[in-house]
Structures are given as structure tokens and as C-alpha cells.
């Protein structure tokens, strides 16, 4: 759907984005992950045509952002990091203005806006001045703005920054709902957020794309061994001895006692062996109740840190 090739943006001597290539596929929710200042916003600003690249191309369905900006811009809805709101307008006035500049037919505006405001939950504040809205509502107005004209692609730059936990959950729900019939690109520096909603991840570090894959592949390819966190009631030495005898267990790390008469461990499995059943059976056989058994392999944090360290940490 969108092909980004050899994208480069230079600011003075610094390369904000350097030779970045990746694709955005139709219908997916793509997570664009990177630390602050990694080049996320710059890349998104180039894709949406707000700024121009120093080199490289962006093509949407074959239309080039420089050669056919109109065709590309018609198909993209964009919520920048700071929602572009006119605070002296009411929500209604603002959204009508956005409809007008995005060529929504006059006769369709009313119904279209009703749909959008229902989706993002703006119904009750439509007549209020944007100036007087809370941060959460402003973010929703920003989302609504990006959805005007029903673009095929919706690009959201850090949509949950500065929101409270409940609002963050709402935004995620909204994104999942949108993802059903839109292609979505979502940038973030918060791992659980992208892990939660995205089908695929692109990780950018110091302007370079360091990974582009599905969440499963990313977390598994990095995994040398699967790990399981356990809490078991009983005596430490007996449990440890029994655990070490379970086939497939490579190593047992004791974490000490966190709860009365229980002990916590991290088990490292040999290769990709699934040791959960074996461990359960062994403990049941010895009469040690298993209180917690939780796989730890979905550790995007590790992957992320490893990837962003590999490509040369300065400072």
C-alpha cells in the first residue's frame, strides 16, 4: 500500500532519517517504534507530505508524494504529535472546516461528522470551544480530524502521549476498531502499547530502520531460551532438586521467598522445549502446589533494547 524507499532527511550535519525503507501493507496496524528523537515524527511528516525528504521516495498505491501530492494526501489522515487544533473554534466548527478542506461533499458532512464523533466519543462536547476542552478530549478531536474524509490510511503520531490510563485504554480500543477497515500506522515509544494493538512492528533507531517484522517473530528470534516464572509452595531445596530433574529444564534461578512458605524461581528451558506440563506434573507428584506459572518469553523490552544498542550507541 505505502512503499517507503531509501528515505533520508538531513538537518545540518545530522541525519534525522537515514536510508529508511519499509512497507505498509493494506489493512494492517503497523507499529512504528523508537526512542524519543529516533526519527519517528520526521518520517511520518515526510509520508504525509508535511515536510520533504532530502532523498528517497514515498509511494502510496503508486502515487508519489512529491509528484502527486494531492492524490496521496487525499488518502491519508494524519494526527501529528501535537493535534493541529484551532482553539478558538467549537468542535463542530472545526470539524466542518476540516471537511471543507478535505473535499467532503456538503450533503454528506452532517452524517459523516455524526459517525466520526460517535466513534471517538465526542458527542457531548461538539458545541464547546476547543480551548476549553481537556487534553483527552483535544486528542479525540485530533483523531476525529484525521478520520474526516474516510481516508484509507490513518497515521497517528504518539496518540496516547499525556493521557491518563483510562483514556489510553480508550484510544487503544478506538485504534483496534479503526483497524477493522483502515490501514493504520501508529508511532510510539511505549512498548506495551504497540505490542497490544499492532500486527507488525517497524523499529527505528537513530534514523535507521533496525527491524521490521511481526511481534511473534521479533520476540522469538531473539529468544535463546524460553523462560518461565514460577511460585511454588514447599521447601526450597526439595523443590529446586525436583525442578532440575524435569526433562528440558536447563537452569533454575531462585528468586527467594516472596510469600510465606513459598519460593519463586525462573526456569530456563532448553532450546524451545515446552516444559510447562512436565514441571506441573513433577510438582504435583511431589505434592508441591504450583501457585504461579507464567511464561516470560514475550519480552519486547529486551528485543528493543538489544536492537537499539547493537547499532552503535554513542555517548
Amino acid at each position: 500500500m505505502i512503499e517507503i524507499q531509501h528515505l533520508t532527511k538531513r538537518y545540518g550535519n545530522k541525519l534525522a532519517v537515514s536510508d529508511a525503507s519499509f512497507t505498509i501493507q493494506k489493512g494492517e496496524i503497523l507499529g512504528f517504534l523508537g526512542r524519543n528523537g529516533a526519527g519517528k515524527s520526521t518520517t511520518m511528516n515526510i509520508i504525509t507530505g508535511y515536510i520533504s525528504a532530502s532523498g528517497g521516495t514515498v509511494k502510496l498505491d503508486g502515487y508519489d508524494i512529491l509528484e502527486d501530492p494531492r492524490e496521496v494526501k487525499k488518502r491519508i489522515g494524519y494526527l501529528p504529535e501535537q493535534p493541529p487544533l484551532y482553539v478558538d473554534m467549537t468542535v463542530n466548527e472545526y470539524l466542518k472546516f476540516v471537511c471543507a478542506i478535505k473535499d467532503v461533499k456538503k450533503s454528506r458532512i452532517r452524517g459523516h461528522l455524526d459517525d466520526i464523533t460517535d466513534l471517538v466519543g465526542l458527542g457531548e462536547v461538539r458545541k464547546r470551544l476547543i480551548r476549553n476542552l481537556s487534553k483527552g478530549y483535544r486528542q479525540r478531536v485530533g483523531m476525529a480530524q484525521a478520520l474526516v474524509g474516510n481516508p484509507e490510511v490513518v497515521i497517528l503520531d504518539e496518540p496516547t502521549v499525556g493521557l491518563d490510563p483510562k483514556q489510553i485504554l480508550e484510544v487503544r480500543r478506538m485504534i483496534r476498531q479503526l483497524g477493522e477497515d483502515h490501514t493504520i500506522v501508529l508511532s510510539s515509544h511505549i512498548l506495551p502499547e504497540v505490542a497490544d494493538v499492532c500486527d507488525r512492528l517497524v523499529i527505528i533507531h537513530q534514523g535507521k530502520i533496525v527491524a521490521e517484522d511481526t511481534l511473534e517473530n521479533l520476540t522469538h528470534s531473539e529468544e535463546d531460551s524460553r523462560r518461565i516464572r514460577m511460585r511454588i509452595a514447599g521447601g526450597n531445596d526439595e523443590i529446586r532438586a525436583a525442578l532440575e530433574r524435569v526433562p528440558g529444564v536447563k537452569r533454575v534461578d531462585g528468586l527467594g521467598s516472596r510469600e510465606k512458605d513459598t519460593f519463586d524461581y525462573i526456569l530456563h528451558a532448553d532450546g524451545t522445549a515446552d516444559i510447562r506440563r512436565g514441571v506441573f506434573a513433577a510438582m504435583a507428584g511431589k505434592g508441591f502446589p504450583v501457585l504461579i506459572q507464567r511464561p516470560m518469553d514475550l519480552d519486547l523490552e529486551d528485543v528493543f533494547l538489544q536492537l537499539t544498542r547493537e547499532s552503535g550507541e554513542e555517548a
Binding site: Y50, I51, K73, P80, V87, V98
Partner: protein, 243 residues
């Protein structure tokens, strides 16, 4: 373009700017009418508009300072530029909105002409129309200068001061070079005809004298066009900037 024009118009008349602008203009204009026409018993539209011209020169920056600078400061230009509108659409829409306010305000001054017409029969509709046309064309140039200055900076105040500075400078240059007491060094004397040809004001005097010339109209229109073209280039350049 229409949508942008409409938003700016709403902004002028929903916030205080439009009223402040019209208020100041009509207040000072009224005083000038009283001093220049009533007290000095001069039933001349040229005198009236000549005076009003100075007020516009000083107040148009109030109208134009916000147009592009504020969009950049609050990053709402991200909405405009990533929409399917071209930069020309945006700049033209804003220019036309400010121009509309100027024209509306000017229309109010017809009241003065109506008052003058009670005391003299030497007012000729053709000459008055010509005078007003020149007046509006000149003011259009102020607006265009204001739009360009607003494109150059992110601060409203800088935009206003720059516009004011350029307007005043143009005015001073004109009067300096047209005065007979001011002598240029010989090697610079070629500047005099050049500057007076480029001068916005000397051309307005011809309209005031009732001479309608296509060349003068074309000059004002192309002057404004050039300012807007530069404004578009400035907005575009920002996007390409690598600084």
C-alpha cells in the same frame, strides 16, 4: 480556498480583531474627515482617501500579522499542508479574507462621500469610483506585503512590525526621491526614475487625479501577485529546509 477564506472571516468577526481593526480605522478616519474635510471646508474625496490611506498603511498589519505566523507557531499548518489543498490555496484564501475586511471597511467610508455631496456639486461619480479603485488597489498591496511578512516569521508581533516597517519605508523612499531638494550623487541618479516607477504611491496619485490607466492597475495586481508568490515560496522552502 473558499474554506480557508471562510475560516479566516469567521476568525476576524468571532474574535475581536475584525472589530478592533474596523473600530480604529473608523475612529481615526472620522477624526481625519472632520479635520481634513469639514473644518478645512474641502469637499474633496481625494483629500479624504489620501488621509485614510495612511490609516490603512498603519492598521493593515493588525489584520495580516496572524495569518500564516500563527499557523506555524501552533503547528496547525500541519493540518492545512497535509490536506489536499495546495499552498497557493492556503495563501490566497488568507489574503482574500484580509482583503475582504479591508473592502468592507472601505465601503463604510462612502458615508463621508454622501455627506460631502450635500455641500458641493463638484463630485463626479466617475472620478470618485476611479479614486476608490486606486485606493483599494493600494490597500491590496499592503495586505499582500502583510501576508508575505506573516509567512516569514512565527511571531505575530514580528510580522506586524515588519509589515509596518516595509510600508513606512516604501512611503519614505517615495517622498524622499520625489522631493526636489533631495539630490542624489550623480552615479546614483539613475535610481530616481527607477524608484518612482516602482513606487506604490506615485501611481495612486494618478488614480486620485482621476486618471484610470490599465498599466497602473496591472502594476498593483502584479505587485500583490509577486508578494503572494514569495509567500508561497517561503512556506514551501520551510518544508524543504535542512537547517
Amino acid at each position: 480556498m473558499r474554506a480557508i477564506w471562510k475560516r479566516e472571516m469567521q476568525n476576524y468577526y468571532l474574535t475581536s480583531i475584525g472589530y478592533v481593526f474596523m473600530g480604529i480605522f473608523l475612529l481615526v478616519g472620522g477624526v481625519m474627515f472632520y479635520l481634513g474635510n469639514v473644518l478645512s471646508m474641502t469637499p474633496s474625496v481625494a483629500t479624504l482617501l489620501g488621509n485614510l490611506n495612511y490609516i490603512f498603511m498603519l492598521t493593515v498589519p493588525i489584520l495580516t500579522m496572524r495569518l500564516l505566523s500563527e499557523e506555524k507557531r501552533t503547528k496547525t499548518d500541519q493540518l492545512l499542508i497535509t490536506s489536499p489543498r495546495s499552498v497557493w490555496d492556503i495563501v490566497l484564501g488568507k489574503f482574500l479574507a484580509a482583503l475582504t475586511v479591508v473592502v468592507l471597511t472601505t465601503l463604510v467610508t462612502l458615508v463621508y462621500v454622501a455627506m460631502l455631496s450635500r455641500y458641493t456639486d463638484r463630485l463626479y461619480p466617475g472620478a470618485i469610483a476611479c479614486n476608490y479603485l486606486g485606493f483599494l488597489l493600494l490597500c491590496m498591496c499592503y495586505v499582500a506585503i502583510g501576508v508575505l511578512m506573516s509567512a516569514l516569521t512565527e511571531s505575530q508581533v514580528s510580522a506586524a512590525v515588519l509589515t509596518l516597517g516595509v510600508n513606512v519605508l516604501l512611503e519614505i523612499l517615495e517622498s524622499v526621491f520625489s522631493s526636489q531638494t533631495f539630490t542624489l550623487p550623480d552615479f546614483l541618479s539613475f535610481l530616481r526614475p527607477v524608484l518612482s516607477w516602482f513606487s506604490l504611491y506615485s501611481r495612486y496619485n494618478q488614480f486620485a487625479a482621476g486618471r484610470l490607466s490599465f498599466a497602473n492597475i496591472l502594476y498593483y495586481v502584479s505587485f500583490s501577485g509577486l508578494m503572494l508568490f514569495l509567500a508561497v515560496r517561503v512556506m514551501d522552502r520551510r518544508r524543504w529546509s535542512e537547517g
